[in-house]
Symmetry: C2
Amino acid sequence: MVDAVRRKVLVLCSGGVDSTTLLAKAVEEYGAQNVVALSISYGQKHLREIEAARAVAGHYGVEQRFLDLAAIFADSQCSLLAHSDEAIPQGAYAEQQAQADGSAVSTYVPFRNGLFLSSAASMALSLGCSVVYYGAHHDDWAGSAYPDCSPEFVDAMGSAIALGTGGDLRLEAPFVNASKGDIVREGLALGVPYELTWSCYEGGERPCGACATCLDRAAAFAANGADDPLLDR
Amino acid sequence: MVDAVRRKVLVLCSGGVDSTTLLAKAVEEYGAQNVVALSISYGQKHLREIEAARAVAGHYGVEQRFLDLAAIFADSQCSLLAHSDEAIPQGAYAEQQAQADGSAVSTYVPFRNGLFLSSAASMALSLGCSVVYYGAHHDDWAGSAYPDCSPEFVDAMGSAIALGTGGDLRLEAPFVNASKGDIVREGLALGVPYELTWSCYEGGERPCGACATCLDRAAAFAANGADDPLLDR
């Protein structure tokens, strides 16, 4: 049971597997009327993720908020961004890790998760929430090249949020030590409508099956002996 | 001298005394061509601060960036916001500290500084900066009611920024242990054009002289036996 202080939670929702499962968990723990789903555009090449987040929040009947923070990344050359000519790389995250010059991988959006968590904190406090739920998980940081997914980063942001709000808000990342396979297992038990979600970096009609996030997603369903409903449509 | 790694710095500029002095310091240390001034609207009741920031950056001839993050605070009731009907309180910060119910003072913008620092980090990295300069100072947190100005908060955000960018960016707050009087002393020595700055919470033709930030500013000039040029115009 949720204690009396946790009256309302804001969940950062990307429309993907992890945050959708987290939303389901929040609804179970807090009740749909006490959950706010926040989705953020950052100028990505397609809006499939945002459309998925909208569909998922609609499914659960929770309050929704949207933000467009694309202007902040106007000067970034990240390959996920609409204004970038760079192609999104194919292959697993692990293969993208080795950068000869030590620079960030092309799909790293500069400090995006720090920005998203700070925006979530500002909005959560404005809406009377006492908790921000964040779907970072083990596979995001182990074997990946994203520094803004590590447990140390989440801890530091959690401290900043607690200190910067005078203790009125706290950050929780319930999946930070779970694998994506663990998350899908929990989600299947919760009846998560994975057919409404979107993970692929590309914005096609169907997932490309070749980008890092498609490979991760497929492996997570396979680990549970389950089919990804998105591939059966 | 600035070491070779510190090639470019982004300064968060509000148009006030502290960040303008910090901008002057950055220009001296890095050279104007290696300084970016970032100013952020958050939906405040007037744009005097942003106009001042523009004038100051123009004076120093540095690159300028502007962001409008007002949408994030659409649900906040903070008295500084244009959509809030609440009056901005008068009197010193110290007097505003005692809230019978333990809630934040009406001029606290929810996690604003965390959001500003995260936005600055995302933009700084996009622009090839290796440092973010932040003008938080001692008087902001000692005797004030703003939790997002404390050294502990700045440290936590600094850790989050270092960790979340893989060490490519660091946060520096050179004034965090200085008083506003100390800052004005340094600024007077640097020839800062304080006549271009704006501090007052109100957006009048002249500073109101009664809000907390006006009182702080007046005391900082008085501590240096100097006149505030803004009051002489």
